[in-house]
Symmetry: C2
Subunit: 227 residues, 2 copies
């Protein structure tokens, strides 16, 4: 089956570094879903204003072909979720890992606004990288989609460890209109690659055309500069 993008995501987070690991984790992060021709028409979004959330079906376009391959089957059957520390294997269909057959991602995101004339939906809480191709947009229908009491397997017990975020003197002011709220949420999720724990190392995050420099010592992330 061949599918074609119907929309593309625009995010202030440029590149893969810092993209939240699940939707809703950076609840203040605002992105835009832009319909592509021939769907970039007001009619295609008619009635969406009555919904609070949408589903996006998208492609994990920034990942490689898979973290590794199962030797016997020649395909990826298990993955090691970061949530479990990266050492425990679960089945690929028991995880939301990007390393999966067909590389399809699924996210519920909050509607912040709809600009029908431009064919744009402004959304909050996305876990998609800038430029991600989107293959479908569906309204979130609570009576069939919401199961708040459902058991969530390993995600129930293993919480994300979040960092405390502070800005070095003067840096928050320098960041200006960047939207410190969303930036703080993104940084608190600890964007560092797994297993890296070097308090002297400086990291850089591309956000809204600015470079955000930070270090991490223990559970404290300090933003050193924004330029």
């Amino acid at each position: 089956m061949t599918i074609e993008p119907i929309a593309i995501l625009h995010s202030p987070l440029e590149g893969k570094f810092g993209v939240p690991r699940q939707s809703g984790l950076a609840a203040s992060l605002e992105c835009e879903v832009e319909l592509l021709p021939p769907y970039r028409r007001e009619e295609a979004l008619r009635g969406l204003e009555g919904f609070d959330y949408i589903w996006l079906i998208w492609e994990f376009s920034l990942n490689g072909k898979g973290e590794e391959t199962d030797e016997k089957a020649g395909v990826q059957l298990t993955v090691r979720p970061p949530r479990l520390g990266g050492n425990t294997r679960v089945g690929v269909f028991a995880s939301r890992s990007p390393f999966r057959p067909n590389r399809l991602g699924l996210s519920s995101v909050k509607i912040a606004g709809i600009d029908g004339a431009r064919g744009v939906i402004r959304i909050l809480g996305a876990d998609l990288a800038d430029g991600t191709p989107i293959y479908d947009i569906k309204p979130y229908v609570p009576y069939s989609d919401a199961h708040p009491d459902a058991r969530g397997g390993f995600t129930d017990s293993a919480e994300w460890k979040s960092l405390k975020v502070e800005f070095a003197p003067g840096v928050a002011e320098a960041a200006g209109r960047l939207g410190i709220g969303a930036l703080t949420e993104i940084l608190s999720q600890d964007p560092r690659p797994q297993y890296q724990d070097d308090p002297t190392r400086e990291y850089g995050l591309s956000y809204a055309g600015r470079n955000v420099h930070f270090k991490v010592a223990g559970d404290l992330l300090t933003v050193i500069a924004v330029d």
Copy 2:
């Protein structure tokens, strides 16, 4: 982007007629998701037993190319949801209509059991037809997927009109082990095509290898025979 089925759905409902219009509407209807090679391996489902629900991403394979085409754009931009009586148009991205770009379906279904050795997940409440190709299975993660208080647009106010279902004398007994519960749920959703309202007309539903004959008068559906 080319995607390939990783599983197939098996349902006691043969054909399209009677397939629920949304997941969860026939909560007792049990189906099987069968992994296809090379994914038909116990490892691919490891850890799924800790979850109550899964997402299925699938293809609306039984539908035609679309109900109609927008003249200006050459593509389908709006649809007429049955929930709104079939006369009101909403944007295709504000509906869960099967007549959509890329023909991708999305359903949350309840896990009834997992048979890892066979590569099978038994599920409840599916709105997929027998034989539907499935492109991804993901665990339902309540903290990112459940928004019970979200507004559901036109689905909030327009309830499905359901029918009262009764069995003619002796017929429920004849149905025997068919699973009257699921069958009643399916029939109560009114499987008739829209606009058909002929009390003399007899309909037939293929269910679990049997033929279920019924008529509808007003809000009452009567099962006449099961053979």
